[in-house]
Symmetry: C4
Subunit: 381 residues, 4 copies
Amino acid sequence: MDTTETFHKKGGTDWSSPTQISPNTQYDDDSPVHPYHRGSQERRTSPKLNKARGRMGLHPNAPIDETHDLAPHQDLLWSRIRLALREPFAEFLGVFVLVLFGNGSVAQVLLSTGQKTAPGGNGFGEYQSISWGWGLGVMLGVYVAGDSGAYLNPAVTFANCYYRGLPWRRFPVYFIAQVLGGFVAAGVVYANYINAINALEGHGIRTVPPVATATAGIFCTYPQTFMTKASMFFSEFIASAILMLVIFALKDDTNNGVSMQGGGNWFPLGMFFLIFGIGACFGWETGYAINLARDFGPRLMSYILGYGNEVWSAGGYYFWIPMVAPFCGCMFGGFIYDLLVYTGPSPINTPWLGLKRFLKPGEAIKAVRQHEQRNKDEGVV
Amino acid sequence: MDTTETFHKKGGTDWSSPTQISPNTQYDDDSPVHPYHRGSQERRTSPKLNKARGRMGLHPNAPIDETHDLAPHQDLLWSRIRLALREPFAEFLGVFVLVLFGNGSVAQVLLSTGQKTAPGGNGFGEYQSISWGWGLGVMLGVYVAGDSGAYLNPAVTFANCYYRGLPWRRFPVYFIAQVLGGFVAAGVVYANYINAINALEGHGIRTVPPVATATAGIFCTYPQTFMTKASMFFSEFIASAILMLVIFALKDDTNNGVSMQGGGNWFPLGMFFLIFGIGACFGWETGYAINLARDFGPRLMSYILGYGNEVWSAGGYYFWIPMVAPFCGCMFGGFIYDLLVYTGPSPINTPWLGLKRFLKPGEAIKAVRQHEQRNKDEGVV
Amino acid sequence: MDTTETFHKKGGTDWSSPTQISPNTQYDDDSPVHPYHRGSQERRTSPKLNKARGRMGLHPNAPIDETHDLAPHQDLLWSRIRLALREPFAEFLGVFVLVLFGNGSVAQVLLSTGQKTAPGGNGFGEYQSISWGWGLGVMLGVYVAGDSGAYLNPAVTFANCYYRGLPWRRFPVYFIAQVLGGFVAAGVVYANYINAINALEGHGIRTVPPVATATAGIFCTYPQTFMTKASMFFSEFIASAILMLVIFALKDDTNNGVSMQGGGNWFPLGMFFLIFGIGACFGWETGYAINLARDFGPRLMSYILGYGNEVWSAGGYYFWIPMVAPFCGCMFGGFIYDLLVYTGPSPINTPWLGLKRFLKPGEAIKAVRQHEQRNKDEGVV
Amino acid sequence: MDTTETFHKKGGTDWSSPTQISPNTQYDDDSPVHPYHRGSQERRTSPKLNKARGRMGLHPNAPIDETHDLAPHQDLLWSRIRLALREPFAEFLGVFVLVLFGNGSVAQVLLSTGQKTAPGGNGFGEYQSISWGWGLGVMLGVYVAGDSGAYLNPAVTFANCYYRGLPWRRFPVYFIAQVLGGFVAAGVVYANYINAINALEGHGIRTVPPVATATAGIFCTYPQTFMTKASMFFSEFIASAILMLVIFALKDDTNNGVSMQGGGNWFPLGMFFLIFGIGACFGWETGYAINLARDFGPRLMSYILGYGNEVWSAGGYYFWIPMVAPFCGCMFGGFIYDLLVYTGPSPINTPWLGLKRFLKPGEAIKAVRQHEQRNKDEGVV
């Protein structure tokens, strides 16, 4: 089964004609012959563009439908910029959609709490609406951000770099795009709900939980007051671990539970249920941030919008936990999946469960350098 | 990638036999040879029918399954009328189903608010039921109205004309059918709930929010009282923008997030989640009309049914906002998607992001005229 | 496009090998050569079995997987009985599952209303749980009852006989099986909830709405007290019409909205959304029976279980409305779909929209007789 | 139709290249030639590994993607352990995910009941959240545990052994893995919610229903106080029966309702609706354990964590009912499905509905022995 066949399985993309370049092929920088070389017509995307992308850490070739690539309009300035920034734009827009729905759902439920004139007589939503909001936000974000792999979460990108061979040098540009997406979306939600926030808090007053009329919880997460620091960390850790474990399962087309169900097709819907579930089952104590981009981006925006230093100091300077814990949790969740299930290439499936590289760092660094040199020699970076 | 292949990708329709004519093929009026010419048997639909359709702005050939087209009953009068009005009928019925469920859900929740004899002891639904109602109404409407492209919304039709090459001359007949669908559905919902409306408001009394027992909100949207005009517009604008952005993503089969997931199959379910999400996250302030047909059609019906001039004057003559803002929002949402993601043919992918045509209108009009003349010469209109 | 291709489209059943006999092929009794004749090996199902099935109005050949049909155990007595009664068994079990979940959901919500010890502090469900119950009951019932076509509703069977050529002589045996399924399921739900019913009503006391502690509403529908007779009928009529209209759309694989979405696969899920929607939008006033089997079957059971004559007399002898209105509604809904959308064979697509047969009954009866005689000559009944 | 074709149907796995070994093929131990023999390259998994697996009752060949099997890292110690314990690991992780979400949803709803600072003003969830939690827990568990068949329930494994030819000797190792999964997951949920449990019950105080502040209900089920013993048993019995009946339907690709809908793909989502439905319709009286692993595993953990002997004695030593009733119920549900629908190989489709083996146990045992001897001769155990 060569790479081509793998892609056939994943979702029916026809690779017999080299239509699309996927940025997510495992270890794709290593493959000596790239699919696009098989095409007969010349692509528009020039070596210059490749170089610009390479510098950002992206695959030299932007993922683009071949017929679109051959169109004359790809020579236009903006088309070239869009190709150069294809994956960052996708991650930005994906997280934007995700946080727009997520923050929007919290805003609507929180601000309309108890409103008697609502149909049904009790506000425009309830806690469950928030599970819906984040769940379908991720689902629709995955559809929107398909060209970048739709990680939508720095911790998920990180675990894919470590466990699935996504090149590390892509992490920074993805990271920036993801945080920016959350940042901008929070601003849009604020603009949309500013009247209602004023009506609840008063003009110019902006407060942070546990103040009774606080609205900062619309944008980022604040822990319940009964929680200890260790429990806060654990709650984010375990939610992130289950997130990564299930994502790896849903993306593992050598797992019968996925391949026999036509897994690729079901990924976005599976993500809806996964995020809904984390919200319904592990969302109370710390607000299930499980994503730096979804928490830090909006937190920064709320700080700029005037919620004060309390956005950082609340909950005993809680803000760092949803930044750090998701990375630890996703690494652990990925570890569990690879330890118990995954039979493909993974650090876990190297000697000593991959720990050797930590014991002999010199050799590991050498191997990474060789890997990168090979890439350069082949002109893929 | 020729047109045939595009259709293969979209949802598996077998175009190797020229079974169906799609009214939505991009720029299809330009293609010199129409698929149906490849068929060996003669179609029943006569040149006369083509002419009648062309006058309404429709594609000269009605979309119809080839085997059905060859059946003798297509010569019957009504079959010919149905073919002539195929897309308007589909849009009518689609919006009818959409508004039937949407208005029905508001009616049930609003009129049964707080009823203690309900199972559960608190009415027959809650705000979330309304998200369900509109969401599944759109989903089922998309299934019903497949032969017309299932736009179900003038603003979505408009953005497809501008960004995706749907011929502009189809807009009017789609528009009329969509508004009529909403108009009639509102009447049916009124007839269904007339006893309950009488029980709540009193016989012959019909009021509009913010009156406490108002029932006009069943049919069309009225804004929350704390909203400023600018905020009302912004709320409808942003909800419409996100609507169009996600629809363009779900319909873009060069987007890996869609094509690798078998996007076509998932479109109606994706619409359910999208509309549910807009209702749960951006539905409070202005009632998420995001659709002239869904708001103006029922508003007109409620005016006729005796809700008085307040249906127009309420909220400071709010009624024009859900007519205008969706067009602005959908145009903006489409702009964002094409700017950041879409690599195919679009005004955004022409020099100066398509602004040149506004700076040199003479040339643009000339180009459109030439395009239309070509169509006429080829006999397709 | 021949029949084989149609079936390929519907859901991928491989008809190039004559694996399965579908009881739902349109006008299948007319086709001179039956698919099973193309098989090389001899089927186990004997002429005797065919005769028994024919007498019940069923297709002479039971729908059975070919490899199963060749197995020796098909000669066993029970296997032969099961084949003879294949479709009635399927309809029975489908309606059984449907009513089990439907009545069960009403029972749980109604009997636990307001229970403070529930997680969440307010009973074990709410009105929306009932929409879930009926919706997923129908969905799972459709999966279970696939071999009979999964009509699960006499009115839907009736409309399929009239509009889609399902032989009329199959109606009675389907009808009996469907009503029995609802009857038995109601008994099981009663047995399951007898303790809780006793706790609410008192031992030996069984009452019917609008008594405050009535539990008869678990089994069948009772209208709201403010309803007039005409409105009751209209409410059931319109809900049944929308049911049939959407089912015909979901089953119409010449409708682009379905065929391009791979409609067959999505039918059970589409039914979930349809039934959920009818419950959430048109379920309050009369309880959305829309199905004689779901209402009369359990009503009869509740009468036998001791709920008294009030199960018939309640609501001004309301019981006949959910028996009659669904037939009228389904006929009307089917009429609308065929009038505005359907281009295939249908009475609507005959001269004078099919009214000619009512004006010249002699000719129509003659045509039906000829049709049946042809069937006999060909040995299919 | 040979086995190869069956698998094509189930979910598109390409068996023309012998990529995967399914542990669930019916009677697969009997087939004289195993698919992997058709591969040209030699597999890494050695006879030694086969022997170890055989001793545990597993199929001698672990289910593994062929390309993965050929990778050098399969020679590593842990990779070999993982292959040896492939199905137990999968069942463990599947039940772990299932109970994590299930117990987590109960914990969140129960512990946050009535919290006024929640968005919406009334806690972080409601009873319906628990239906979601268990429903999506099973769905995601099925995805994770695909390589073992994803039974996730000893009673379901048992019924598959009896009715579907899953070898009985696999039952014990599956059983242990399933119970362990539930046991560990309950511990993780406890660790996650320990602060909140302390806040509700008080430090060091742990109580069992019907105590007002009891939290033992998070982990395992306790019946309603009005229930008689017989009713408790019946409630678990009927819920388990419907579980098994619908699973057999969803897994039966000779059932038109499944095969024409592409059943395999839909199985996990179907399970979501099934479990949600059981929770919404039959979940009140006894908490719908319907699964020894989901109830006994967490019950044991809660006992160890200090909930006292009441976890066993509560409800009149109720604990044995969710251990025994699911087996009876699943056997009955499977019986009903095979009696009324299933035409393939099943004990029901043997003389006297399979009762003969109970009347002539000597012959039955002899047949089983012969079957096992054949397996040994062919070297598959």
